[in-house]
């Protein structure tokens, strides 16, 4: 039995009702849509403001997560600053929020703070505040991205010695601590629970945070009480569009002044500037995986890859063939480490291995990340795999989404794969970070734990300047000669588009992770 019967309306009345409703719905929705304005076409946000489009949604605006590539472009050098400043071109260190640093034993480092520095909320920078900030980073419960990537538990304590001196106490000597500090943003410990994440960042930088709601622009404004030279641009609005073609279209339509991370297909558009970044595309080989457990097979892989062809065809001519997993301006780069395209040598090595009973025909996987920089979908892996098979190897391609790769390959890859593609960025300009980070016995990704390499790296860690350079070169040469775990492919470039003819900006190798608005000027 029916418990409900609809009231019957006369057709004519019903028709009127429907059309009335339709008009009302469209009218009201369009009206509410119109009311919720956000950004407008044309450049900038008024005055000498500019609009920039970025490619990644920041996952945190907490200054202690500022060294992640998704968060850095908004925070670094704009909202936040570090104690030590590093010149992005030369890699030289200079004063930042600290004016000088001294140590007698590389275990205790004293930094003198710059006087009269104010945070955006009006508070003055004090030695105690800075020490508390570093302690917050070093508290594992805060889950700071800086902890583990730049600062480790080797920093055992940070204390305020007097009003303007902060002292870092280390577990083992570290002659390059100031270099690491160049990557640590200084912020203010939040009131209440210090481990609580910060959503509205407060720093000492030339721009202060104004607003951000997910899905809309991030807005910053010039900070009037900035200790340094006032920047040219008054305000900046960061839009986020994950599609490269949409970012390029925004630039072409003049909706933004600057568009970042533009794909190679748009790298020749008006206003595009291609610049080398400190990132290198490379493969990591698993020495425990047949047939890669034979060094000759691993070396054959290195010789089988035609790097120039890859750069020309897969990377659209942007980039340069690589001999090491870091660029030549990094401390520890050795000119003796080279890779050439030599398929005959590769075949020879494979024949030798085969003669010794190695099953060089065994199938292995080339594991790639679909949306990693420079990979162009599966194109990179397909090409590399074809090159390997050309010399007689038997490889097949497995492509995963980059986040899955990150989650699975951070620890020894599950399931273990023979050959993993990755990109490595070394912004610190210290080769120890690369070599120890990829091959040290503690490194989560390393397939080896080699006594001799460990010994060289341990000596390098405690050395500085020329001695450190020599030891790191020795380590790089040792890996090339004896381990052959890291197979470099190409140093990468990035493309930025500047559409506003009045805006002057020269990108540097750090631009993709640190887009310093104060470096831009408007004519």
């Amino acid at each position: 039995m029916s418990k409900f019967q609809a009231r019957v309306l006369r057709p004519a009345r019903r028709a009127r009702l429907i059309s009335g409703l339709a008009v009302a719905v469209v009218g009201c929705l369009v009206a509410t849509g119109c009311a919720s304005g956000d950004g407008s076409p044309g450049s900038g946000s008024g005055g000498s403001g500019i609009r920039v489009v970025l490619s990644q949604t920041p996952f945190s605006l907490d200054p202690c997560d500022s060294n992640h590539s998704a968060n850095g472009p908004v925070l670094l050098g704009n909202i936040t600053e570090s104690l030590v400043d590093m010149d992005p071109d030369s890699g030289d260190l200079g004063p930042g929020l600290a004016t000088e640093w001294t140590t007698t034993d590389n275990i205790v480092w004293d930094l003198t703070l710059r006087p009269d520095v104010k945070f955006h909320n009006g508070e003055s920078m004090t030695a105690e505040g800075v020490a508390a900030w570093f302690k917050r980073i070093l508290t594992p419960e805060t889950n700071c991205y800086l902890y583990g990537s730049v600062l480790t538990d080797n920093v055992q304590d940070v204390v305020a010695v007097d009003e303007s001196t902060v002292s870092f106490k280390l577990g083992t000597p570290d002659p390059v601590l100031p270099r690491a500090l160049a990557f640590v943003s200084v912020g203010l410990v939040p009131e209440g629970d210090p481990t609580e994440k910060i959503n509205e960042p407060v720093g000492t930088g030339p721009y202060e945070f104004v607003s951000y709601s997910p899905g809309s622009d991030i807005k910053l404004e010039r900070f009037d009480d900035y200790w340094g030279e006032a920047p040219d641009i008054e305000s900046v609005s960061f839009a986020i569009r994950e599609e490269s073609s949409v970012r390029a279209a925004m630039a072409k339509a003049g909706e933004v002044d600057v568009a970042t991370a533009i794909g190679p297909q748009d790298a020749e558009m008006d206003g595009a500037v291609n610049y080398p970044v400190s990132e290198t595309l490379y493969y990591r080989l698993d020495v425990n995986h047949a047939p890669l457990n034979d060094k000759r097979v691993r070396e054959a892989i290195g010789y089988a890859i035609d790097r120039q062809t890859l750069v020309d065809n897969v990377l659209g001519g942007l980039g340069t063939p690589a001999n090491e997993i870091f660029v030549d301006s990094v401390l520890g780069y050795s000119d003796n480490v080279t890779w050439s395209f030599d398929p005959d040598r590769a075949k020879e090595l494979l024949a030798e291995a085969k003669a010794d009973g190695v099953d060089v025909d065994a199938e292995f996987e080339v594991y790639g990340q679909a949306n990693d920089r420079g990979t162009n979908g599966s194109e990179l892996e397909d090409t590399v795999s074809a090159m390997l098979n050309q010399v007689g190897l038997n490889s097949k391609v497995v492509i995963v989404e980059d986040r899955t790769d990150r989650m699975e390959s951070a620890n020894p890859p599950k399931p273990p794969v023979a050959m993993v593609q990755n990109t490595h960025g070394n912004s610190t300009r210290d080769g120890y970070v690369s070599l120890n980070g990829k091959l040290g016995c503690q490194a989560p990704q390393t397939p080896v734990c080699d006594d001799e390499l460990t010994a060289i790296l341990a000596k390098a860690a405690a050395a500085s300047e020329d001695e450190r350079d020599e030891l790191l070169q020795e380590a790089a040469e040792y890996q090339r000669e004896n381990l052959v775990v890291l197979i470099p492919v190409a140093h990468l470039t990035d493309t930025i588009v500047i559409t506003n003819p009045k805006l002057k900006y020269t990108p540097n190798p750090a631009t993709s992770e640190r887009l310093v608005i104060a470096d831009m000027t408007l004519d």
């Binding site: 039995m1 029916s2 339709a22 986020i240």
Partner: protein
């Protein structure tokens, strides 16, 4: 009526529970997001502490019980990406999607009813072929391609409209155009075929014999009888757009739930994925309920709750 509502409510709650459980388990099978939010060299202790803080350390069934317990208390967990309660993130973004979906469907219905009826009325004529071919094309072309082409033509070359973003009426046109094409394509075909059936029925012939005008015949008599399949299909299509126009919102940077869904899946923001599924699931269940009401309103012979 009360029985009908109660029955629907029971089905609705059960379906939601099923969907959320499924999404909850599937998301966690991809592993812990700790490695995405912590540096590559993070130690196992750091990963453990992260998991503990975000309730990812227990077994999946015990995590699920905790989560469902939270849902009863209206605590849907916190977003890893936005660092706020997941439900606020979702509810903040939902109006943008609902507005876009509603306008899209109104446009799609109006256009397809006119096109489909015209097509049915002039079956076999040139205009019918054009409309059939047009609708087939509209429903077959992928929306990311249409979106990017529309941006290239209207925003870059002609400069008439903004490429992307949200704001005044000019920001609505390209997403609406892109999003409504597929529903227009599908609905035009449905309207056409059900109108053809309706126009061939005896009562239409009688009405025509009595001299009723063609317009009244189509839009008043035939359309009403052809409406049931149209409402059914329109309902399914509405559910699709309410569920978040994933591709269109991502391409146009529309601050809606589709965009949010893509980002939260990519960044493994579990709490937000679950909240999106819960909210859209609830919306679709309500929508289906309204469609059932509409059936009986269009044709009083259909009774609810039997």
């Amino acid at each position: 009526m009360t029985y009908f509502v109660l029955q629907r409510l029971r089905h609705g709650v059960l379906s939601l529970l099923g969907i959320v459980t499924l999404v909850f388990v599937l998301a966690r099978l991809t592993g812990s997001p700790a490695r995405l939010y912590l540096p590559e060299d993070a130690t196992d202790e750091m990963v453990e502490s992260f998991n503990q803080q975000h309730g990812l350390d227990g077994s999946i069934p015990s995590q699920l019980i905790d989560y469902l317990g939270g849902v009863i208390r209206l605590d849907f967990g916190d977003s890893l990406l936005y660092n706020e309660p997941a439900i606020s993130t979702v509810l903040q973004r939902y109006p943008a999607t609902l507005q876009l979906a509603a306008v899209t469907m109104v446009i799609a219905l109006l256009v397809s009813i006119v096109l489909g009826s015209m097509s049915a009325n002039r079956r076999g004529a040139k205009s019918d072929s054009v409309s059939r071919l047009g609708s087939l094309t509209a429903l077959s072309v992928p929306d990311f391609w249409i979106g990017i082409m529309a941006i290239t033509v209207f925003a870059v070359y002609l400069g008439w409209l903004p490429t992307s973003g949200a704001g005044g009426i000019q920001y609505w046109i390209l997403p609406l155009l892109t999003l409504s094409l597929r529903p227009i394509g599908i609905l035009t075909q449905v309207v056409r075929s059900s109108m053809i059936t309706a126009l061939e029925s005896d009562y239409i012939k009688v009405a025509r014999a009595k001299g009723v005008s063609q317009g009244t015949l189509i839009y008043k008599h035939a359309l009403r009888n052809a409406a049931i399949p149209i409402v059914t299909v329109a309902g399914v299509l509405t559910a699709q757009v309410v569920n978040g126009a994933l591709v269109v919102e991502t391409v146009f940077g529309w601050p809606g739930i589709g965009n949010l869904m893509v980002t939260s899946i990519k960044e493994r923001d579990f709490a937000v994925i679950q909240a999106v599924v819960l909210v859209t699931g609830a919306a679709i269940i309500i929508l289906n309920f309204l469609i059932d009401l509409a059936y009986s309103w269009i044709n009083p012979q259909i009774r609810l709750g039997e």
